[in-house]
Each structure stands twice: as structure tokens, then as C-alpha cells.
Symmetry: C2
Subunit: 551 residues, 2 copies
């Protein structure tokens, strides 16, 4: 009764190097077992190796010691005991070097260069004869990516750290330059420790962008120099804030892990909380019934037609974007409610005969102009180009969120885009409605988006070859109506790893075959203190394919 599928699953289980995630684009493996020497060391063959590369090496060495992950097979570590005892070769070292002519820059510098010219590729050779392993790249960022791969090779059997499938040869680089994760820290607040733990987990699966939806209508936790009143009055509490030094901390923590931080001040909608300190700038603040004035409570939008508000907003965008080192900064632009403006006498006066769309164009030119002065490229939500025809710099990046069916329309406008579609990548779906007094309510993006769903996404479906070049990549997103520090890890991991592989390895992989590797990701994350959830009963996790529908 051994089906072909089960046979294939058993074969994949015999090639343990395939537990790597994301799967390298080129890999060849052998049949040898390789032990990690007790005195194993990692050498950086570089003069003046950057401090953050040295730190990355230290973290890798630490994890090689502390992961102690037993392989996910029946019998766990014990199943490999004989192979490990029999294995003769012992790996005593890994040497890191840059390819000839590559500039020596820190990971942190490389992590924030223009996304399309970012260099994340690497070549890793792990011999089976005990000679030193070699990791080469064109950048320290590439070396970091190679270290993440190297870390995933190792398992524990009764105290011995070993890899199977040596010699291992990997030549790797991402299919898409942008692989992100978005976190909303406004609907519910997340302490720095949660964000840092998330950045760590992101780096393990080579996600390179943290899209930080830092403020929204519900709260304003970002302390912006010169605009301290916004967080003083708008944060959930005096301690529920991100100070400039916190932001620096996050940026440098992220950059050292190869992650660019794209912050967002969503405008002109999603700004109700600004009314707490600047009532003069907000139309329809907390107006009821909220359903008439906003997509979710509380209502309130920047008075986009008022010269004073434009001045305030451009200065805020300028000050906020200056806090971040990324080339990109998001000015949002989603879910603008026209009824709010229609009912706001001040806005009607300020329009002075102009249409709402004309005023929005002026407003947006002001905010993108402010970004330009800071040398930043705007990121916007899809409505800015699909529902409103505002003037935007050609290099603007558009995030497609409402539906993956809108991708072609954005591409037709000639803008670069990031996949962030609710029907594939929203992590908050499936948890039922959060609006009160609505017992039968679903979350608007129901049903639950499984990891298989996002994994099955085709980034260039419905695009011409030329349009396909506009796709920078994609990301999972966590809106936090029903999330907080309590469920951050379980709601994000390992699901967000599925887009990490999709946009690194490329689409078209088989989810059924990938499942056993994703189990590996989740089990290893748990060893590292990230509460990634079980995708199956452990019985299934130890028996690749045995819980398939067709098994």
C-alpha cells in the first residue's frame, strides 16, 4: 500500500539537507554524515571585518550550540545515532570571504541600499572530508544569508551536532528583492522585545524588509521629534511609545540582521488620533455612527484641503521619515472616506471650488515632495493609483492589498509593486469579527489564510513579461485588531515563512513536499524562543506524507 506519493515523501526524508528554508535556488548534496567539531570555529577572512558581521558570526556559533534540534523523524535524534557514530568526517571550520573586488561594507549598510541592487546571494560549500567549509558572497549581507542557511544544516543526536547529506554545495540568491513582513503597532501596542524577536525570526528565513505600520487612528506610539504632542496625547500609555532612541535601536537591530525598516505614517485617512493634540487638523474626529465616516472606528482624517494641515503633515512626514534610514517611507493613502469630508464644514470651505480629487492631488504632492527633500521614495497603498489619480513620483512603490486581482491594474499604471493582498497574505483573517454587538460577524478577510494558500501565490499571474519586472516581491501582514504580544508569535509563525520562501526561491513549488521543511522551521524557531505553532500533530510531523489526504 506504499503509494508513489509516500515513496516520494520517504525519499525527501532521506535527503535531509532539504530541510533548508527558504530552499536554496541551487543545491546538491551527497550521502555523508558530518559531525561538527567541538572546537568548530568560524573565521572571517577579511581585513577589518565589520562589527555587525562579527556579531552575526557569534550568533551563528551560539545557535549551533544551543539549537539542539533533533531531526523530525520517528525516533528523533536516536534514529541517526548509528549514522552519527559511523560518520568519520568532522567539520572544524567555516571560512567566510568576499568575492574578489567586492567592497567591504557592514551588513547594516548593505541592508538598506536600493532594494533592486541589494546583494543577498552567496555560495556555500560544505565538504564531506573534514576540510573547512567555505562561504563566499559579494557582500557581507550575502554572507549573513549564507550563515542563516548554514545554521539550518545541523541537528542534535545525544549531544553530537551533525549534518546529513554532505558534501553540500549551494549557490543561492533571491528570486525577488523585496521579502517583507508588516506589523501594525497602533491597534494594539507591541514592546520592543516583541519586535526584536520578530526581526530575529524574520532574518532566519531571509525576510529583508520590516514594514512598520507604526501609527493609525487608534493610537500614535511614535515619538516624532518636534511632534511630541502626538504621542503624548495619542499613545495608549506613557510607556506604550517608541522613542527616537527606541527607533534607532530597532533600525540598527534590524539592519544588523539584513532587514530594512520601512515605516508608515498613513495619510490622510487613519489619522483620527491626531485630533487629540491637533483638533484643528482632523475632520470628523470620532464621529458616529463610525460606519458612515470610516472603515473602522474611530473616524477621523486629516483636513487634506487646508493649507495649515498640509503644512503640518509635510513637516510631520519630513520629521518622521528622517528618523529612518531606509530609502523608502510609506505615506499610506488607503481607505479615504469622502463622506467625512463632505460633512466637514472646514474642508468644504478649504476646497474653495476645487474637487476632492484635486485637493488630494495637491496634498499628496506636498507629502511626496517632503519625502523627496529627504531623499526618500514613497510607498503607497493601491487606492492612491487605482481609486485616485494623484501625481506620484515614477519610482513610487505601490502595495496591492485589497485583492490580488488588482495587481494587473497597478502594473498597467507602470508602478513598481509589492504583493500584500488580503486574499493571500493577511495573517489576521479567520478569527471572527472583532466589532462589538455583532455575534455572527466574520473578519472581513475571512476565511483564514493558510500557509499553503500564500505559498501557492503566483507573483506574475496576469502580468506581461514587461509588467512582471515591476514586481519587487511581497509580504505577509499582521493587522492587530485581535492581536497583541499575547499571540504575536503563534499568529505569525510559521505562516509568514511561506511568503519568505515564495519570494526567495520563487513560485511554483509544491506545498505538500514543502510541509516537512516548514515543520523544521517551526520546531527550530521554538528552540530559539519563538512560539511558532504546530501545523500538524507531532505524529504527522515525524512522518512526512503520512498525513496527506492521498496517503
Amino acid at each position: 500500500m506504499l503509494s508513489q506519493r509516500l515513496l516520494l515523501a520517504l525519499l525527501s526524508f532521506l535527503v535531509p539537507a532539504s530541510a533548508l528554508w527558504p530552499l536554496p535556488r541551487q543545491i546538491s548534496t551527497g550521502n555523508s554524515t558530518l559531525k561538527l567539531a567541538r572546537n568548530f570555529d568560524i573565521k572571517i577572512s577579511l581585513r577589518n571585518a565589520p562589527k555587525d558581521l562579527q556579531d552575526a558570526v557569534s550568533r551563528t556559533k551560539g545557535r549551533l550550540q544551543s539549537d539542539k534540534l533533533e531531526r523530525l523523524v520517528v525516533g528523533r535524534g536516536g534514529a541517526d545515532a548509528q549514522a552519527v557514530r559511523g560518520g568519520r568526517a568532522t567539520l572544524s571550520g567555516l571560512t567566510l570571504s568576499l568575492l574578489d573586488g567586492a567592497p567591504v561594507r557592514s551588513i547594516s549598510e548593505e541592508a538598506v541600499v536600493d532594494v533592486v541592487s541589494r546583494s543577498e546571494g552567496y555560495v556555500l560549500h560544505v565538504p564531506s572530508d573534514g576540510s573547512a567549509a567555505v562561504l563566499r558572497a559579494n557582500s557581507t549581507l550575502g554572507l549573513l544569508r549564507g550563515l542563516s542557511t548554514f545554521e539550518q544544516l545541523w541537528y542534535d543526536s545525544d549531544g553530537t551536532t551533525y549534518a546529513l547529506g554532505a558534501p553540500i554545495d549551494i549557490t543561492d540568491s533571491p528570486a525577488y528583492p523585496y521579502r517583507g513582513f508588516m506589523l501594525d503597532t497602533a491597534r494594539n501596542f507591541f514592546p520592543l522585545s516583541d519586535i526584536k524577536r520578530t526581526l530575529d525570526a524574520m532574518s532566519w528565513v531571509k525576510i529583508n524588509t520590516f514594514h512598520w505600520h507604526v501609527v493609525d487612528s487608534q493610537s500614535f506610539p511614535l515619538v516624532v521629534p518636534g511632534f511630541k504632542e502626538l504621542s503624548d496625547k495619542g499613545a495608549y500609555s506613557p510607556t506604550s511609545v517608541y522613542t527616537p532612541s527606541d527607533v534607532k535601536d530597532i533600525i540598527s537591530y534590524a539592519a544588523a540582521r539584513g532587514i530594512d525598516v520601512i515605516a508608515e505614517i498613513d495619510t490622510p485617512g487613519h489619522t483620527s488620533v491626531i485630533s487629540k493634540s491637533h483638533p484643528e487638523h482632523i475632520a470628523c474626529p470620532e464621529a458616529t455612527p463610525w460606519g458612515s465616516f470610516a472603515n473602522e472606528p474611530p473616524a477621523g482624517q486629516l483636513r487634506l484641503a487646508s493649507p495649515g494641515t498640509i503644512d503640518f503633515t509635510t513637516k510631520l512626514i519630513k520629521a518622521a521619515s528622517k528618523m529612518f534610514s531606509s530609502k523608502f517611507f510609506s505615506i499610506g493613502g488607503d481607505e479615504i472616506n469622502t463622506n467625512c469630508y463632505n460633512n466637514d464644514a472646514q474642508t468644504q470651505t478649504d476646497l474653495a471650488g476645487r474637487t476632492f480629487e484635486e485637493a488630494l492631488d495637491t496634498f499628496t504632492q506636498a507629502t511626496t515632495g517632503a519625502l523627496k527633500e529627504n531623499g526618500k521614495v514613497p510607498v503607497v497603498w493601491e487606492e492612491m493609483v487605482l481609486e485616485h489619480n494623484v501625481t506620484l513620483p515614477k519610482e513610487t512603490v505601490v502595495m496591492v492589498w485589497i485583492s490580488s486581482e488588482h495587481v494587473a491594474a497597478v502594473a498597467q499604471k507602470g508602478f513598481r509593486l509589492v504583493h500584500a493582498a488580503s486574499d493571500f497574505f493577511y495573517l489576521d483573517c479567520g478569527g471572527g469579527g472583532w466589532v462589538g454587538d455583532f455575534a455572527s460577524g466574520n473578519s472581513w478577510c475571512d476565511p483564514f489564510k493558510t500557509w499553503q494558500k500564500s505559498y501557492s501565490f503566483d507573483p506574475t499571474a496576469s502580468l506581461t513579461a514587461e509588467q512582471a519586472n515591476l514586481v519587487l516581491g511581497g509580504q505577509h501582514l499582521l493587522w492587530t485588531e485581535q492581536s497583541g504580544p499575547e499571540n504575536l508569535d503563534p499568529v505569525v509563525w510559521p505562516r509568514a515563512a511561506s511568503s519568505a520562501e515564495l519570494f526567495w526561491t520563487g513560485p511554483g513549488q509544491d506545498a505538500g513536499a514543502a510541509l516537512s521543511r516548514l515543520h523544521d522551521v517551526a520546531y527550530r524557531m521554538r528552540k530559539r524562543g519563538v512560539n511558532a505553532i504546530a501545523l500538524q500533530p507531532q505524529w504527522c510531523a515525524l512522518r512526512p506524507g503520512a498525513c496527506d489526504l492521498t496517503a
Copy 2:
């Protein structure tokens, strides 16, 4: 624009004693603010107060110190600062006593008496003039329930512990005697610390039964005296087990918190793992395709027609049920797959002309007979009475799980029942499919069951008045295909609190009005180390009613 609903919400927000959960059946409150004296103490007015009551008092005193929950209103603790400063009365003591003639037994003894005669009622009087509060009950168990209520009265404002709405008079007792929570520790394993934390949280909302689905086809973590080989071969690892001393620990921990532990050895289905140590007793072990032999992998059922297997099973049930102090023990009985037996030559031989149903009846009489010898009452899943017509003791308790629509049919058979219906009380729904290679798969009990859904349940719908007497209560259930220690708290809390109130306070309460109290439950749980999730953005949690659909 202040709707009537919002007005009602604002009113409820002015009566903070209503943050109690479950809502007492009778409560009256006043308008005074009451501070907790620094030297506040709880006295037990009993000769030879049981140790577990003394411990419960210590825990309450500890939580009064450590909760430090600021009230969920705009401004949090600061909003009450003036009232707290102005409050003159200070509560220096709470006195616990039993009503005249009540026997002095420990909480642990009271927690396991026959569920229908269990005494959980209490009377609590908290005066507003500074004189001592009084808690009276007919049992130490009732005193424990009163302590849980008393703990929920207190908030923190800048270091001062205070209650609003004094004087407070409460006369309380549960609408239903059985209020449970079921955990499956077989599909994925949970360490003792997770179970204990869950028992704590259960006791805070007066849940009185832990239904422990301890073993299943995937793993056998229970170490049963005389049957050690089952866990030796069937546990996920040598440390993923519950030893007899662990079980004793759980039972006494639970009992001290007023919780009865009903363990389950599911038979004759859901027993595949027994084949690891006793292949002679299992039909179709791990047969493929599993879908033909079981509802989920791995297949495998006890050879119910074999005299040797009946002997083995009765001895196992006897030994396992002896480990637990509860009057109840579940022998399961769900999802028996006849195709498995039809294809098992041994079973066909053993049937020797009997029908499968006849053999099942003999098997069940043997297992219930074993329970009877131990003085235990059987608990079974609904199929045992609805799909099979086996002989069962009249006092057997039937758990209705497949659908709430089956309740009437069970009641018609005259059996006592517990509501455990998948369409209202399954916590594992909504997370997508877990079966491999099935990208579009939903979990079978999709969609997600919100707390509002379970809260809206009517325990006696479709029952006659006489049949309604058969309803013991109900419970939430967590099957753990996609759950483990990583997401235990977030997937359970605060949702499971909704059935706790439903079956304590009684049905028919308004979920919209209850939401603000449930926020209180979740925020307080977090203060106590239980990761209860956010039900809404904090903006909404601080503004009762403001995020209602009709606000």
C-alpha cells in the same frame, strides 16, 4: 448622535462591579469607592480550616497585591484618581465562614463530590463603611468561588488598590453544575506547567471540570501502572509523559482549585498507538489510505470482538480510572470505523457470527463493568447512544459533540448530557486544514467559533422541561491538531470564559453588553501570566460600545 445603545454602554461603564465574570446571579451595588487597606487581611472563621482553603486565601491575597490592573477606561487608573483620593472608607478585612451546620471539608474533597450535589454557591457582602467584608458559603468550595469573585473587584490607581460601587452584595450559585474545559494532550503534548496554568485560569472563571483527553491514536503519554509499555512505546518522547505522580500532582492542583479531573481513554477507536506495544490488540494499525480506515491518521482500533483484547482493555480502563479521584471516567466511543473491522481477518474470526453491534455491546458492557467495579460513572461521546445502541448504565453522561442538533436525540434516550457541540464550543476551528497536500482545506469544524457564538448558545433549546433536567452543563474543547504549548493560551483564552459564564450565570445574556467585562477577564489574565488575546484594539477596550456596529 449619542445612541441609546451607547448610552446603555456608558451606563454599564459607570457600574464597574459588573466587570465580574461570570456575572453573579444576584448582585446589588452602591456608589462608594472603597480602598483596600495596606494591612488588609483575610480571616477564616473556622476551627481547623483545611489547608487548601488556607492556600486559596494566600493566593487571593497575593493577587490583590500583584494584579495591579488599571480599569479599562480612557485614562486608565488616572481616571479614577480623584474618586480614589476622595474615597474615605478602607476595607481592612474579609472574613470567611461556613453557614450553620455545613460540614468542614477541604475544597479538594468538595470539588469531586457528585456533580449534581456539589455546593458552589456563596454570599458576599462588601460594606462601604470600612467594616469587614463577609463571605459565607455552605462549603469550602463555595468560599473558593466567592474568593474568585472578590479578587475581580479590585483595580489599581497609582499604587492604591480600590473597588468601585460599594456596598456590594452578591448571592451567587451556578445555573448548571458542570462547566468544563477539554484538552487533548495526545495529538501534541503539553507539559505539566501548561496544564497547571490552564487550571488556574479555569478556576478564575469558576470552571469546575477538566476533561482530560489524555491519549489518542497519535500518542499515549499516560503512564498507567501495569501498562507502562503503552507510554514507553507510545509517548512522543521519554519526557513527553504523565507519570502517576504527575497525574496525582494535576489532580490535587485541580482539586484545590475546585476542579474535578475527568480523564478519558477513548475506546475502541482512537487507539492506533496501542499497536506499538500490543500489535495483537489493534485492527488496521496505520493502514493506508488512512481515509478509508479512520477519520484522521493514523488508523487503528481495538479488536473489540477478541476476548483477549476485551480482557486487556477492561484491565487498562480499571488501572487508568483508578489513577483519578473523579466519580466520572470517559471511555470515549466516538468515530468507530467499521471498514477497519471488515478488513481485519482476526476481528472477522472473533465475531464468530455475531454482528459488529453485538460485539460492540459486549465490549462496552465489559468496559463500563470495569468502571463500575471502581465505583465510577461512565462518560461517552454521543455516537455510543445515537449510532450504536449499546447497553449503558442509566447514570452514564453523554457528551454531544458532532452537532448541537443532536442534543434532543440524546435527551430522548433519557441520558444526562454535557454540551460539547462542535458548532458552538470547538476552539480548534477556523485555522484552516492541517492535512498535508490539501492547500484549499478547511478545518472540518470551520468557520472559527467566536466567543459570541458560544455565548449565544441555548442549553435547553428543543428540549422539554423534563429533558432540560438532563443537561448537566457544557464545555469548550481544544483538539490539538494545530495547537501545542506555543498557542495554548491564545487559542483558549478568553474564549473559553464565554461558556464558563453561560453555564454559571445562565443563557440569554447580551454579548454586546458582556464584551467590556470579557475585556476585563482578558486583561486580568495577562496580569497573571496567561496570554489571553486582545478581542479588539485597545482603543475599543477602553470605550465600551464605541466599536459596536451600531455605535
